[in-house]
């Protein structure tokens, strides 16, 4: 995991036999037109950076196409994306299953809330990445490692938001429940859920972003398969175009997750002023 500083500006580096260039790869069956366009691109990029010799190799050879066209059809790319999203989804699921009920229990009683406050404050300041070495020792490079670390990072916002959600419920609602003889289910459906859900969905949005961040960080550090380890691999062999392509992929995944969560929020709390858009 330690870095050997590879100097990309070393002119001999590109011709080194140890560096496998992307166009040497057999799965890159490129057409003549492709090759021609790439050579043209190379020429323009070289011309553009002529004044600054050290910088040109750092910037992508083809910032425009970003190698996506070639990566697009490969199993390597889609496997990486699928693995990252699998650990993202599993991690988020476990965090929700543990964090939300626990937070609701903690928030429902002021004495419990005060008792656990110090512990929660202490534990949530430890970045979950700090447990990566321990997880690697215990599980190795396995799906469990990213999932557990994602859980350790994402459970806190969910727990804290659910605590708020349960503790801010209007006490009058309890009296209403008693005087109207509401059943347990009616209480959950018509009183508890409407006042708690906005908080929980906010926690969910924060947690979903943290999940992606942790997933990529764990893959990058531990070499567990996924977008993160592809980034790391591209860095080590200094294929800047591939590197940019995966950074772009990570950004697109981030946006897609955000869109998904906003949609979910819309579905879950469609009646809330923040969603209806007439908030003051």
């Amino acid at each position: 995991m330690a870095y050997v500083a590879i100097r990309p500006e070393n002119p001999n580096f590109r011709d080194s036999p140890y560096v496998k260039h992307d166009h040497d790869r057999p799965e890159d069956a490129e057409t003549a037109a492709d090759r021609q366009s790439r050579q043209a691109d190379r020429a323009t990029s070289r011309r553009r950076h002529r004044g600054t010799p050290g910088v040109a190799p750092l910037l992508s050879d083809r910032p425009r196409a970003l190698r996506r066209r070639e990566l697009w059809g490969t199993a390597v790319y889609w496997n990486a994306v699928a693995t990252t999203m699998t650990s993202w989804g599993l991690g988020l699921l476990v965090s929700v299953i543990v964090g939300v009920p626990l937070g609701l229990i903690i928030g429902s009683n002021a004495k419990i809330e005060v008792s656990v406050r110090l512990i929660v404050d202490f534990l949530r300041t430890i970045p979950s990445i700090a447990f990566l070495p321990l997880a690697l020792l215990m599980f190795g490079v396995d799906l469990r490692t990213p999932v557990i670390l994602i859980f350790l990072a994402a459970v806190w916002p969910l727990l804290i938001q659910s605590t708020y959600a349960a503790s801010q419920i209007d006490p009058v609602l309890k009296q209403v429940r008693r005087s109207f003889h509401l059943s347990w289910w009616q209480y959950i459906r018509f009183q508890f859920a409407p006042s708690a859900l906005p908080f929980i969905t906010t926690g969910l949005r924060i947690a979903a972003t943290i999940c992606l961040l942790t997933a990529i960080a764990v893959e990058l550090l531990s070499g567990a398969p996924g977008v993160g380890s592809q980034l790391q691999g591209a860095l080590i062999v200094s294929q800047s175009a591939t590197l940019y392509a995966y950074v772009l992929t990570a950004g697109v995944l981030g946006i897609l997750i955000n869109v998904l969560l906003v949609w979910l929020q819309r579905v879950l709390i469609w009646w809330h002023p923040s969603v209806r858009g007439d908030a003051r």
Binding site: Y3, L118, I119, P127, A217, V227, L231
Partner: protein
């Protein structure tokens, strides 16, 4: 729990952590697992490591990097945020780019930053600054946007412009939200600190933990994690103190509004 005395409140806050520590102490003594060594060993190792050589070698550089990166990112976020908040056309123009860059997980940028800056201190500080930049920026834009319109009108009729308007109207009224963004930024910059130290050059708490794992020294590893938690907790409380001091007028105002006085 309002109205109870300070001592009683403190007792309620402290009892569970103490119970858990005691349980951990005795249970870990009984089951001698390789992954979770006895707490007594961790504590004695911690005393040896962190008083004071380890603190000077690892904790201080980490905290210096964290604080400098955090301050750079926060100030950059405030400056750019105020500019974009005031200049609506520019904000509309760069909004899509901002949304995209914000969605890129900060850690995915690490290989790029390494490509440009190597694995030294500058890379770590820049990474910490990058991840703390976004929450502050977005909160500042929103805060500058939502300044009370009457205040702006008053400032216009009294011909308060330029620097005075910035220093006495815009910044104070956006400060609470900027602080909310900075609090999020602090949490993510601690993550970035550990993360960059694990890939970067030796030195720092993150490197210490990783190195202990490579030596299969779980006792040292746990003591590193404990110290990391303590440092994070102290930094959080320090931030809260600064916020209380800077925003005292705001807290007084909101509590007065709540009591109806």
């Amino acid at each position: 729990m309002k109205g109870t005395s300070f001592a009683k409140r403190f007792a309620w806050e402290i009892w569970l952590p103490i119970v858990l520590l005691v349980v951990w102490y005795f249970v870990s003594e009984r089951f001698n697992s390789f992954y979770c060594p006895p707490l007594s060993e961790i504590l004695s190792a911690s005393a040896q490591i962190w008083i004071w050589q380890g603190t000077i070698d690892d904790v201080v550089p980490s905290v210096v990097r964290l604080v400098s990166g955090f301050i750079i990112g926060t100030i950059a976020g405030i400056v750019v945020g105020v500019a974009l908040g005031l200049w609506r056309a520019a904000e509309d123009a760069v909004r899509p780019v901002l949304e995209f860059l914000r969605a890129v997980p900060g850690v995915a940028l690490l290989p790029l930053v390494i490509l440009f800056l190597g694995v030294g201190d500058s890379m770590k500080i820049v990474m910490i600054a990058i991840v703390s930049f976004w929450p502050v920026l977005l909160n500042t834009i929103d805060a500058v946007r939502s300044v009370e319109p009457v205040q702006l009108q008053v400032s216009r009729s009294f011909h308060i412009g330029g620097f005075d308007r910035l220093a006495f109207i815009l910044l104070p009224s956006s400060a609470p939200q900027v602080f909310a963004g900075a609090r999020t930024a602090l949490a993510t910059s601690v993550i970035a600190m550990v993360f960059t130290e694990m890939v970067g050059s030796p030195g720092g708490i993150g490197y210490f933990i990783l190195n202990a794992q490579r030596r299969f020294d779980t006792v040292d590893m746990w003591s590193g994690i404990l110290v990391l938690g303590i440092v994070g907790y102290l930094l959080n409380n320090l931030f809260r103190l600064v916020e209380m001091k800077v925003l005292r007028w705001h807290h007084q105002m909101t509590s007065r509004a709540q009591t109806g006085a």
